[in-house]
């Protein structure tokens, strides 16, 4: 156990820090879920990152990355959040599909999709859930029928993050019409501007349109767009979900920076708040640290050749519940001002805590509800029998 950064890691941190200091936009970008303008501003930022080869540091150089290890990725993320850099509009691509493509894609598929993903030229949405397939994802009904060298896609996807403005989506389709449940599913990519695709935005609690419904009416895509073999879609999706919940979806730095801001907010209002808030603030800091330490332990294990398992599910439960607690603590400090919009003359230093609180409430739902995660922990970690 060696909890000191090497000289090389420290030099890397300095390199990231000085690049970010020069390049991070001085003003926050408008939300990528509220307007095309905000979305394109984030795409432009992805291009700046890609030009510096900072888009995805763990990827091989041939796909625009730097071939770095997971500890370096953590250091990059720490500096990224420390600098207050924009949220990653292509997270569905770079954090979820990217690693999966790397593992299951052919060389041709990697060349075709990874480079444009890293550059921000193609922004990805996820198209897994359906109206009747949420937590019970294996009951997917959307179909993909092979005709020559094309698939014909038909069905109705929903809760697709980023789909309103994104360029591509990756979805789960039933390629074997006679199949049931987990069998006969395939993972297929489709352009969101293809003929027969209709995207319908769904307004969220916060009024933004971060997710959408996708209607697919005989959409024809090349069979080249299938990742892995026919019928392997379920296993590949689960691998993607492992990455999503496990490591990359929510890097610890995000919460450590939020905890730092929460402590600052508390210090500014210490005299006005009840004593229990102090305990909640300290707990938030401790939880953010615990999550970071846990991810360092996982990254060290993976770097030594280990695999991510059911701990992906423990991570997802922990960060999502921590995120809510942290925002609740902030709202209790803000008191009567917590309900104000930032445009209110008396808003003062309310910041984005209320937006963050709303978004935190989605945490226990997306990427597999926490109820499903608890089932996974109980069955795969603890060995309890299936229902």
């Amino acid at each position: 156990m060696d909890l000191d950064y090497t000289d090389e890691q420290q030099a890397f941190r300095q390199e990231v820090r000085s690049w970010l200091e020069k390049h991070v936009p001085s003003k926050p970008l408008p939300s990528f879920d509220a307007s095309r303008e905000g979305f394109e501003a984030h795409r432009a930022w992805e291009r700046v990152l890609a030009e510096g080869r900072w888009g995805m540091v763990t990827w091989p150089e041939s796909y625009g990355g730097r071939g770095l290890d997971l500890i370096q990725w953590l250091i990059f993320e720490e500096e990224y959040y420390r600098a207050g850099a924009p949220l990653r509009v292509n997270q569905n691509g770079i954090f979820l599909l990217g690693p999966t493509l790397m593992e299951y894609g052919t060389e041709e598929q990697k060349a075709r999709f990874l480079t444009s993903m890293a550059s921000g030229d193609e922004i990805w949405a996820q198209a897994w859930s359906e109206p009747q397939a949420g937590s019970d994802l294996a009951s997917v009904r959307a179909t993909a029928v092979l005709e020559g060298d094309e698939y014909v896609l038909k069905g109705h996807k929903i809760w697709s993050s980023r789909a309103v403005f994104a360029d591509w989506a990756f979805g789960l389709f039933r390629t074997d019409p006679a199949s049931q449940r987990h069998k006969g599913l395939s993972l297929i990519f489709f352009p969101l501007n293809a003929p027969g695709v209709r995207v319908q935005a769904i307004p969220q609690i916060d009024g933004e349109t971060g997710f959408a419904e996708i209607f697919l009416d005989d959409v024809r895509v090349s069979a080249f767009n299938r990742l892995g073999g026919e019928g392997e879609g379920w296993n590949i999706c689960m691998a993607t979900a492992g990455f999503e919940r496990g490591l990359m979806l929510r890097s610890p730095a995000r919460f450590q920076v939020a905890a730092r801001k929460l402590v600052e907010l508390y210090k500014a209002h210490e005299a006005e708040v009840e004593p229990t808030v102090r305990t909640a603030v300290l707990q938030s800091w401790m939880d953010a640290e615990a999550y970071a330490l846990s991810i360092y332990a996982t990254a060290s294990r993976l770097a030594a050749g280990g695999h991510i398992g059911a701990e992906a599910s423990t991570n997802k439960i922990f960060w999502s519940e921590m995120d809510i607690a942290m925002h609740k603590a902030a709202l209790s400090i803000l008191g009567a001002r917590a309900e104000l919009l930032r445009t209110a003359p008396e808003a003062g230093d309310i910041g984005r805590w209320l937006d963050g609180y709303f978004f935190s409430l989605a945490g226990p739902i997306y990427a597999g509800s926490n109820e499903i995660q608890r089932n996974i922990i109980a069955e795969r970690m603890l060995g309890l029998p299936r229902a």
Partner: protein, 351 residues
Amino acid sequence: MDFRFSEEQTMTADVVRELLADVCQPADLRRLMGEGAARDASRWAKILEMGLAGALVAEDNGGLGLSAIDFVQIAEACGYAGLPEPLVENAGVALPLLAAFSDNARVAALLKRALAGDVTVTVAHPANSFVADADTAEAVLVVRDGAVHLVETAKARIVAQPSVDPFRRLFTVEFEPSDATLVAGASEAAVPLAAALDRGALFAAAQMLGLAQRCVDLGVAYAKERQQFGKPIGSYQAVKHHLATAQVKIEFARPVLHAAAAQLEQSDLYSRARISQAKLACTDAADVAARTSIQVHGAMGYSWEVDVHFFLKRGIALTSWWGGTAFHRERVAARVFARPLGPEHTFAGEA
């Protein structure tokens, strides 16, 4: 940066774990309880044979010269087994503290016997209201006005303070301080005593993590067997989710404990906050796991027959041992409110 144990560290802990799995099962605990004895002599002999008494004593002083990170998994194993014998307090806390004063001839002589496994030593530290295992110890290191005295238990007035935990032996110790008992003055003793508190809190946390896992494991084993409505109760989500929630507590206390162990020797505001965070996190995990296990066992969980109560009681005992939640939360606050925060400071220390 490598947040992993060495193979040697894990192997040593595995050996202890296997030994305890062999000789420290609940049936063994119940037998000891029935006899009313302080120790199981043959088990204690087997533990001593492993040569762990001097684990944390420097090699110059005749010990193994190991660090907290080498010992933390052993302490977890002791918690998992609910070990009654004082391996953690003797080897983990008392002997390294004793060794800090080995220039003193009485200390040196006692240390030699203690490292040989002939006697044990215990500590009356201001962080604790009581002294553990004073009846079986040869001597007590007592803190009086910041100074450390070494008192043979035979020459002290020892009053038992029975604990609800049948395997914890608590005492108050009274003695007449004199030049003969004095080992180190307050200024000399301050650093070793602070280190003793750090080790005590860390290893108490480690034991709580171990017993938390034991509570979950007992609950899981029962939930697989016990049938209601024609199925094992562990197949129902209400039961699964209870146990999963407890396991999540354990999973996120463990890396804090291990980071705290790795950084203990920094002995600064940062490492002390991490130790205290570990104590708080492991206390929480032990509390949730014990209550969950009782709930999952249903009425059986409230019975004397089911073993969970041994671990519930050890958890209650260790919660306040080497500093309670208020004490440790303030040590965290001292770091949070006075030092830089953020992801670049996760592994920081005083420059």
